[in-house]
Subunit: 405 residues, 2 copies
């Protein structure tokens, strides 16, 4: 009977992926007390290269766990690797050989859209060959674009960083009496959830983005300039939030990087929507205009964590262990929001085969006609996810980042 | 006898300029208890437009003061306005007319390099005409490039934001096993103090910028590529910090905005040093390369304040009031670091005429030969300025920003 466990992290980093790793370790200590808890370096790449580390000793104390939970990115390292469509490919023999050699009875893979594809393929092989291993996908992405889960781990902290920073930028840009436009570019290739967070502060009467453009609606240059001209009559200093993925009706990205090569999953690296719009505004409207790309800090700003997000991400890891312990496999763990006026979350599961490579978009009903803003209903849905601060450990005023050796 | 006081804020915002405003108000409550405390909207522009507000009632309680101290930017609004060189210009009659009309006995002007020029001109007129007003310059700039003061208010928090964010970016970029270079552009037109802060985390063994380029040294394209190639042999994922003001030996900015018009003080708006270098690295080295411009958040990230900076900035305001109360005028308040191994600060003064339009550069002795890093001695000098966290008020997970009505 295989009884050890293996954990891997994959895809783009977030600030919550290590919280989930910690949650899995905590869950294993309870339900798999005699097991070796292995971590794979750089996701499946570590399994293929026989590069595993023992976590039992490294994350043993409460303070080690807390430091891990407040460290950004992927403490085990990550990878972007698409496994072959042909399930008879020899690469799978290497992976299942490693599972056997290390006595792995449960494999937890923390990742986004693309990583659930890996979980699905491994689950199908395990089912086909009757392998005694439980394989569980544990979601994460700042993009909040996974279906079947109320929201995604890592999104709440990224949304808090975006909302906080937009509010600060709005404060900064309001100091001069001359008209100005500040365009802030926010991550989100296909879905505009994170960009929508730029509107949350208005729910409590704070300054934030005056105009919000998501990739769910085709971007129209002339409508955009009209929106700006209209708003500039009401307010001197405007802040505009745009998703990196905004595109014209023919699908051309606004400010796409012409040299961008697609990555392993066919994604194109983007840059410059805000920059392109800034040049447009200078040319067509003529007022002062700045562009700000929030960039990598959106997904690694552990100095601005949502306590709600981090605590849920830890619980998510525990829920994954519970599912495996109960003999379930081929699943992705999900968040289920309880109905009712008070925010409360439960943990569920969905067959991973249903989730892989699907995207959850911001519903059109939550985007105002014309596409220059989102509804208060959407903002109220997102607002509970950013609540609560975490006093992450600091030394000499600097973050303390936990390292797995 | 004129007994009221007037406060103005000028120049680019920082997160500490409102702390200094609060300090001045606190000082006035003690030393000018019966005075009206006026604030000028948008600096001297508010004086010229007769746009003053009464602060006595608006910043009256401890919690109002605390909220003001943790709100970024300039609560009174700011301006960029150069007063005429001709001290007989009628604009000065308007300003001194307002001083008289409102019974102003002390005028405090919080600002940077350029604002001290305003303080100097007004002081000279007051001295020439025997006006019964004390005029005190109170420094602020995230650039830390004012002479005669150990460091500048606002720099410590900006440096903390830079060091924290660089550490987080280093964590984020280290997750993939493939070589990568991440180039982070940091504010600093002429002086590299803030960029140097990207090295502070190494003093406690944390990841940070592997290479640091300041504007004090001419930037050489080939030497830069050599530095990268050498470092890539030691380390897979590099983080490079560059000042926005880096330039080649002939003075050409790296990635200067060709359309940039100079501002009122002859400064050119910059953009794109990191972007230009990213394209260079992709072309010449061929590894994955990202660019990140830290941009406006460097000067407005009140969610990452240095308690040392904010507390000093409040004390600075009090010191300014004390100087005026003692009958002194034409001064800029300064920070004086006590000698000794433990960090401690005193407050001094310098004639403002000596400070105006001068820049303090990072001494060449603190830049390693070849210009790709700074010394540990410099980092040890900067490190105390980022110490201490502030639990700024939040509501529903968002910052609470104090507004002056």
């Amino acid at each position: 009977m295989n009884k050890n466990v293996l954990i891997g992290q994959s895809g783009g980093p977030t600030v919550a992926i290590n919280a989930t790793l910690s949650g899995i370790i905590k869950g294993c200590r309870e339900l798999y007390p005699d097991s070796v808890i292995y971590g794979a370096r750089n996701g499946v790449k570590g399994i293929l290269a026989d590069n595993l580390v023992r976590l039992n000793e490294q994350v043993a104390t409460q303070s080690q766990a807390y430091a891990l939970e407040t460290t950004p990115a992927a403490a085990l390292g990550s990878c972007r690797m698409k496994l072959p469509a042909d399930l008879n490919d020899p690469v799978y023999d290497v992976i299942f050989g490693a599972f056997e050699r290390y006595g792995i009875g449960a494999f937890f893979y923390i990742g986004g859209n693309d990583s659930m594809d890996t979980v699905d393929k491994l689950s199908r092989i395990a089912a086909r060959d009757g392998k005694p291993i439980r394989i569980i996908g544990v979601p994460k992405t700042i993009d909040n674009d996974l279906p079947f889960t109320d929201h995604t781990p890592g999104f709440g902290s990224a949304a808090k960083y975006v909302a906080t920073t937009i509010q600060e930028i709005a404060c900064d840009c309001a100091v001069y009496p001359e008209p100005s436009v500040t365009i802030v570019e926010i991550m989100g290739r296909d879905a505009g959830w994170l960009t929508a967070a730029a509107g949350i502060p208005r729910l409590i009467g704070e300054d934030c983005a005056d105009l919000i453009y998501l990739p769910e609606v085709d971007f129209d240059r002339d409508r955009f300039l009209d929106d700006l001209r209209r708003k500039l009559k009401e307010k001197t200093n405007l802040v505009v939030a745009v998703s990196e993925g905004i595109h014209s009706a023919d699908g051309t990205l606004i400010g796409a990087d012409p040299s961008g090569k697609p990555d392993a999953f066919g994604h194109t690296m983007l840059s410059g929507a805000a920059y392109a719009l800034r040049e447009l505004v200078k040319r067509e409207i003529g007022c002062k205009c700045r562009s700000v790309e929030l960039n990598i800090p959106q997904r690694c700003a552990s100095h601005c964590l949502s306590a709600t997000d981090i605590s849920e991400s830890v619980c998510l890891g525990r829920a994954a262990v519970k599912a495996a312990y109960e003999g379930r496999t081929g699943l992705m763990i999900t968040y289920i929001r309880r109905p009712g006026s008070l925010y409360a979350l439960d943990y569920g599961t969905v067959p991973v085969s249903e989730t892989a490579n699907k995207t959850k978009y911001v519903p059109v009903k939550h985007i105002v006609p014309g596409g220059c803003d989102v509804t208060d209903e959407l903002l109220k849905e997102l607002a509970p996810l950013i609540v609560g601060e975490i006093d992450a450990p600091r030394r000499s005023g600097l973050p303390y980042h936990f390292k797995i050796k």
